[in-house]
Symmetry: C2
Subunit: 941 residues, 2 copies
């Protein structure tokens, strides 16, 4: 098992404690936390507490009490509890919890957040008696471990870490190896028989202590290290010989003295005292205060300080380190799964310099420790009732648990683990449902490149994985080409700079879509996600010559006959054909979970589908209706686009009506197909929505063609196209505004719906159309169009002499004005469907197509937690949704409420919609299982 | 006095009763109300009443009572009251009121709305006893007038009109001359000695009765009339000889018989009965129901029916007709002002076929009637306490008042009338303030072309009057040209297809702006309104050749040396130089009104100004601060734009900072100028707002120039320009998003503000800057930028070793999300300024630049009452404003609230803002007096 495999399932690079340690000193810091000592300059007072911070459980912290200041965790005693996060900080509470269930955690103690508050209320002085308490706990620690702080032969070394109730950048970094000094380092060298290890640990301590505690700029240390490396001709840190490290410690102490004005403290207790105070000071550093302000974190007293014994896996052949999962995180199988390295530190496992051994081989190496570890495994699963991801170190035959947390897992594993844990009676059905990250279900539904397939594959470039899946095909450079070659039986990848609605047919026919611009919410991405079609966007290194039919990347040029593969999850663009794994059938555990989900869900799950094929696929995935059937896609196919363009070019109403009349039979046929596919379930048809300029050609050749067809000069076509241009098409002439200015389009569409319905009913098909009027902003607008719709329905039925079937007429709520006046709007609407894409655009003032230039900065700077187009902004956009639900139902008690924006497939958003009382969510076919599970989770929230 | 003069002041075409009559029968109807008889088919039930309709005063109408069904108005008795609008309808209540104050109104009676309701509850039958009551009132009428219904020698003729409490299209049209039949017409001919008049009246009755009451399609009558005209070679109706009209009556009766299936009713009571029932039926016609639905009109029982005696001014030389104002509507002078025509009908006065005589000459013609009219004048002013606009008819020496209403007047007249009426003790100060339409004050402030100046002027074309005023100048075709020639002392009109921010300097230097595209909210219009500069936009007939320096219109081509004039009120583009009238100084009555206004206003009035000149002008108009100082305009002037473009082209932060550094001294100087001009008053500076692409050149020549200056290839400039392109720039990378991605711009601007402030304070100038961060959507965004702003302020002050002056930091509320989360936002803001332009764009989903294609249809169809960019949409956008005020003040009690969108100068909007508790409004300098008056009106509302 190669080192990379273990960490593969979650695709996150894991930073272990040891790795952090390495990073803390080796990597140059570009942006770093302000130094604790400088932080002391900050004079800003604590803001008055108002409400408990987000994520903070338990009662609100009150004024600091003058009671117990330090809580011990260890074999001897464990004074803290998992629930005391507010008092002990997140890290402290966690260490106490692990200890209390009998895990062999390196012992230590936590100084409470109240003590930090007292530090400030008592004039920035360590509270009286604190150091005595600390000394007492150190003594317990020494006794428990049989080591002694400052003892040359058997030294106790500790780490000091900050830890508030909420994790917070800007707080003090970790200080490791505390307790070393000029003498102890020698003892350590001797005790371990590893002089290099000892001096490496010491130079790290001086550096960290100087930098983090005393505010000496890191680059002063860096400069010394560079000099040593030059001296020994060492390319990297690890090439420096032991003597070099000894020289380095000497140089570091000089740097320390020069910048701090006194010697590096040799007294371990002094080191500890200064470190504790530095942690307290960092609580009111500029960056921490700013972070709390910006993130509205209130109600916290201060930070806790964690002092913990160090444990080393590199002390000889009776030492080692490893990582493991209590079950297989990739498949979910109930086996102990992991790997270890003898005489190594944590980072060695991840770094891959040495090949770790499978965890089962520990039985050969140290059977007792392995047995102990297996027991830990069982304890953990019983305690946390979930699969755990653990890190451990064996120091001289003694096992230490460094960390345990719920293990990340693939969607497949999540399903299996959940179902099996129910069988094992570890958890109940509801817990099982809650446990599975709903979004991960897509992994079970889409083909993907498996790790073993991608070995030896050439990755040409990497874009943004916009729609998961795996696709391999020959390159097609225009939509028309893709359509033609796909019809001829070729598997083609459509490669474009960006896509537009004109490309839709070609996109549909291609096996995958690759663009060089755009983000996750670009046209290509959104359309592809809707179809569950593999798509990579924003691969900026691609350069395309559409006319020549070539694409250049990484210095190589590809033509129409070249085959590439794209991974819609990772965004990788690969050379040649890569084997794909097609998902298994959706039976077994997956079916069990879906069954449980439907049993517990309150909201129904519909799908967004515009074609019978999509509708059928969504039914297979369990959709119970269509929540959004867009009609514009229907306008692009085949000969229809010609009639649409004639309609747009029409110089008067008569011309327009005759063009529209040509569309009627097509539309009717479309609806017959969809109603048939959704037999027995409702189908919400949205009337024409996009601005008309999306239907006209923007390239000269196509404009000429259109001019010829329409029998008008090309200048006329160009004039009309120019006239249709808008500065902000998103806020322009579209949606129901089209129906206001061209009512004949609405009449044709409604007629097609009614005629299709009557046709279906005659055939014994239970067609249940609902007519949805988009982009409504005012009650009058809706009332007037509803009137016209109702009259058209009545007219068609009267023509045929049949009783009008019940066809609810409703609207989308996607304009902020519609949300705030939902009570008025509801008077004219039998249902609302929230169009949260547009609602987000307008509520935030964010154009989906343009956020690429600033949204990344917002995420990086923490001004937004996530892209509001991916997951609904509950505080802002969500507030409007909730308001519209309440007002709408006030005006019309039985108002049906749904959502059809892309948020309808996002689990967090679905949970929110559940809390608003929505009747259903609607999402793309491939998200239906996700939504079913999320709906169940919402019902249990 | 030419006929047109009297109606000139208000520029509205006045439709008198007589004109309406003429229109009702002569003009072909393009869209017409559905016929009352067809309306009977409508089966839709009345919606349950919920709330009284808009505009309906008094208690809600309850179920129909079985009491009195008919209310008489006349000399004998007057049973109705002005307040009984709900029972008698608007028209009925008005007729009763006029009668009750002793005006000689043609007598008649009103059948109540309750009776209409009973008509429906009693199965669509006229309630029992109604016709008896009607007959009784007809008898009173006959007695009062000494005429008799159906009497050949002295016939009583009446009109029948519908009249609900709210005026409502779709209700039954008027039927006039009711009472005529084959015999009575002959008697009328003899009695009047005017056979033509009698048969003309009769053919109108048959037509109207057939069409409106019995549902015979108008075109059947039209066809007959055409045949008669052909027969007599008559070009128009009036050319048909008397005998032709007699033949026409015969033919009309045939048409009636053929389509109705029975003879035209000869019995006047039968005519009346059918007409009354037709009015009732029209209440539930499709169009009326649809109108009530769309306009949310509820709480009405039905329509009233008004039956009123006819009065004719064309019965000989002792008859006549006239229109008059109780004071001069143009100047406000307290003189009786009007004109009359002997032996004429009302439409003759307006039509201008004969020249009317001044009203004073009535004294010569009929001294007694004139004396009576003067008494009416005085009665009216005492009763209505306002200047009245009256219509009267003299029938055989007897005066009849046909209408009185508050007279429209010019702004000048409004001010004078109000001030003088206070002096006359007719009204008090508050009433005077309420009385003046605040918006009309602009008429006193801007130069204009007076009627007498425009006689003989050639109007080349008409665009949209976007910014009032009058301007004459030579044509300049580019902004650069305008700047250059204006510097050389020329008066130039800038003529452009459309303008962009690059043109701002040229626009400023021109005396007026004329564009061939765009609407009232286009860039040109908005900028011009801000400066009070005359501007005409959307003059679509203009065709410009910018390179050649020519403009073609109406077949003529004009060059750089040609002089044109534009009227920013009417939109007229005129040949040559037209004399302008410059307004008088703002003293006298105007000053009195302003003084009174300030005494009663609660809200302060600030101005939107970007330059010291604008600031000074606004101070003269009474502004007490700047509510919006845009900084982007400052970026366009002179050499600055170069630095701005360098900043945009910068490839890294260093380059960018060095370009920005060049801007600092300019910005500082700008602020010193503005703070000095506003000495002692607050100045709210908005940080950079527009998207960066507005600053880069889009034409090749300019791009090359920039490339040379910046020392980069032109391809790089093009690349960057293309990169800055956005699909929806309105929702793109602008506002505070610029500060998030380029914090160095914010830092420079804040530094400039602080340095300018400190400089001013040193000079003894009381600079009071407020820093406003635009386009904020989230609390975190604002908190983070506020942080940076505060730190920069502290830094600059620390550098100089001075105590930081108090500089409030606030934000614009212009994004819906900011409004709904205003409580959170307020935590980081010391003030809110509502940017209602953008807030309207996003709340409605309307792009100001693109509404031209659909907004007109919305207004025409009654889906919107008015352009929401002109006057705030109180129900939707206003709801967000109100919510933000409440939430904002909940979070921060002393939060200062203002508005700086263009709505800040709109009286109706100002009234609304007053009700929300805003502290100030801010508007363009020229709107300041308007806003001061509107603020007073708001306080009294």
């Amino acid at each position: 098992m190669p080192p990379s495999t273990l960490r593969r399932p979650t695709k996150t690079t894991k930073v272990t404690k040891h790795t952090k340690r390495a990073k803390a000193t080796n990597a140059p810091k570009v942006t770093k936390a302000p130094k604790a000592v400088r932080a002391a300059k900050a004079t800003k007072a604590l803001k008055p507490t108002k409400a408990p911070a987000k994520g903070v459980r338990g009662p609100m912290s009150s004024a600091p009490k003058s009671g117990k200041m330090v809580f011990y965790f260890g074999r001897t005693k464990c004074e803290g509890k998992a629930e005391q996060k507010l008092l002990l900080g997140g890290k402290g509470a966690n260490l106490a919890d692990m200890t209390s269930i009998g895990l062999p955690v390196p012992p230590g103690f936590t100084i409470t957040t109240d003590t930090c508050a007292r530090y400030y209320t008592e004039g920035r002085r360590l509270p009286k008696g604190l150091l005595d308490e600390v000394r007492g706990h150190i003594a317990t620690l020494e006794k428990e471990l049989g080591k002694k702080l400052g003892d040359m032969r058997n030294p106790l070394l500790v780490s000091v870490r900050s830890g508030a109730a909420v994790s917070m950048p800007g707080m003090m970094d970790t200080v490791l190896n505390l307790g070393l000094n000029d003498l102890v380092v020698l003892g350590l060298a001797e005790a371990t028989g590893n002089r290099r290890f000892a001096f490496d640990a010491f130079r790290r301590l001086i550096n960290m202590f100087g930098d983090v505690v005393m505010g000496v700029d890191h680059h002063h240390f860096e400069r010394e290290f560079d000099a040593i490396k030059t001296k020994y001709g060492a390319a990297s840190d690890t090439d420096v010989p032991t003597v070099g490290l000894e020289e380095l410690c000497f140089a570091y102490k000089r740097v320390y003295r020069e910048h701090v004005g006194e010697e590096f403290p040799q007294d371990p207790m002094k080191q500890l005292e200064l470190s504790i105070e530095a942690v307290f000071k960092s609580w009111n550093g500029d960056r921490a205060i700013s972070y709390r302000n910006i993130n509205d974190i209130k109600g916290l007293n201060g930070t806790a300080v964690n002092v913990q014994a160090m444990a080393y896996g590199n002390m000889g052949d009776d030492s080692g380190t490893g990582v493991a999962f209590t079950r297989d995180p990739s498949t979910g199988e109930n086996i102990f799964y992991g790997e270890f390295l003898v005489n190594a530190q944590g980072e060695d496992v991840v770094a891959g310099i040495r090949t770790p051994r499978p965890i089962s081989e520990m039985d050969d190496w140290m059977p007792a420790v392995y047995k102990q570890l297996l027991k830990v495994r069982s304890t953990l699963e019983k305690h946390y009732k979930d699969m755990q991801d653990i890190e451990f170190t064996v120091e001289k035959g003694k096992l230490f648990m460094l960390q345990t947390r719920n293990g990340k897992r693939t969607g497949t594993a999540a399903v299996r683990v959940a179902v099996e844990m129910v069988k094992e009676k570890l958890i109940d059905e509801k817990t099982a449902l809650k446990r599975i990250p709903a979004g991960d279900l897509t992994q079970l539904l889409l083909p993907s490149f498996q790790a073993k397939d991608t070995a030896g594959v050439t990755v040409l470039t990497k874009g943004i994985g916009a729609s998961p899946g795996a696709a391999t095909g020959k390159l097609a450079f225009t939509a028309a080409e893709a359509v033609e070659r796909a019809r001829a039986g070729e598997q083609v990848l459509l490669v474009r700079k960006e896509t537009s609605p004109e490309d839709v047919e070609g996109m549909h026919k291609a096996v995958g879509i690759l663009t060089s611009t755009g983000g996750k919410t670009s046209h290509a991405a959104v359309v592809a996600v809707g179809w569950g079609k593999c798509c990579v966007v924003g691969a900026g290194e691609l350069s395309m010559d559409t006319e020549a039919g070539t694409m250049t990347v990484a210095g190589r040029t590809f033509g129409r006959q070249d085959v590439l593969s794209i991974d819609g999850t990772t965004g990788e663009v690969m050379l040649g054909s890569v084997t794909r794994t097609v998902p298994e059938s959706l039976g077994g555990d997956f079916a069990t979970i879906m069954q449980w989900a439907d049993r517990h869900a309150r909201m129904k799950v519909r799908t967004n589908a515009d074609t019978p094929a999509d509708a059928r696929r969504a039914r297979e995935f369990g959709a119970v209706g269509i929540g959004l059937c867009r009609t514009e896609h229907m306008f692009f196919e085949g000969d229809r686009i010609k009639a649409v363009r004639q309609m747009i070019l029409a110089s008067d109403r008569d011309d327009r009506e005759s063009a529209i009349a040509k569309l009627l039979p097509f539309q009717r046929e479309d609806f017959v197909g969809i109603f048939t596919a959704m037999d027995g379930y409702p189908v919400t048809v949205r009337l024409l929505d996009p601005p008309l300029h999306e239907f006209v050609p923007h390239e000269h050749a196509q404009q000429e063609e259109l001019a010829q067809e329409a029998g008008v000069p090309v200048s006329e076509v160009k004039r009309r196209v120019a006239q249709l241009h808008e500065h902000n098409p998103m806020l322009g002439h579209r949606g129901c505004r089209l129906a206001v200015t061209y009512p004949e389009i609405l009449v044709m569409q409604v007629r097609a719906i009614v005629e299709a319905t009557l046709h279906c009913l005659e055939q014994g098909i239970d067609a249940q159309p609902e007519i949805m009027i988009p982009l409504v902003g005012t009650r009058r607008e809706l009332a007037s169009l509803r009137d016209l719709t109702a009259r058209t329905i009545a007219e068609v039925c009267a023509e045929r002499g049949v009783k009008a079937p019940k066809i609810p007429i409703g609207t989308m709520i996607e304009i902020p004005r519609a949300a705030v006046t939902a009570d008025e709007i509801a008077e004219a609407a039998e249902f609302f469907s929230f169009g949260t894409n547009d609602l987000t655009q307008m509520t935030f003032g964010f154009s989906r197509d343009d956020i690429g230039s600033f949204l990344p900065a917002y995420i990086v700077k923490g001004l937004l937690d996530k892209d509001p187009f991916q997951s609904i902004d509950q505080d802002g956009v969500g507030q409007l949704v909730r308001m519209a639900c309440v007002k709408g139902r006030q005006a019309r008690e039985k108002l049906k409420l749904g959502v059809c924006g892309e948020h309808g497939g996002d689990p967090a958003s679905i949970r929110f919609f559940g809390s608003c009382g929505l009747d259903y969510v609607s999402c793309s076919p491939f998200r239906v299982p996700v939504a079913r599970l999320a709906a169940a989770q919402a019902a249990m929230a």
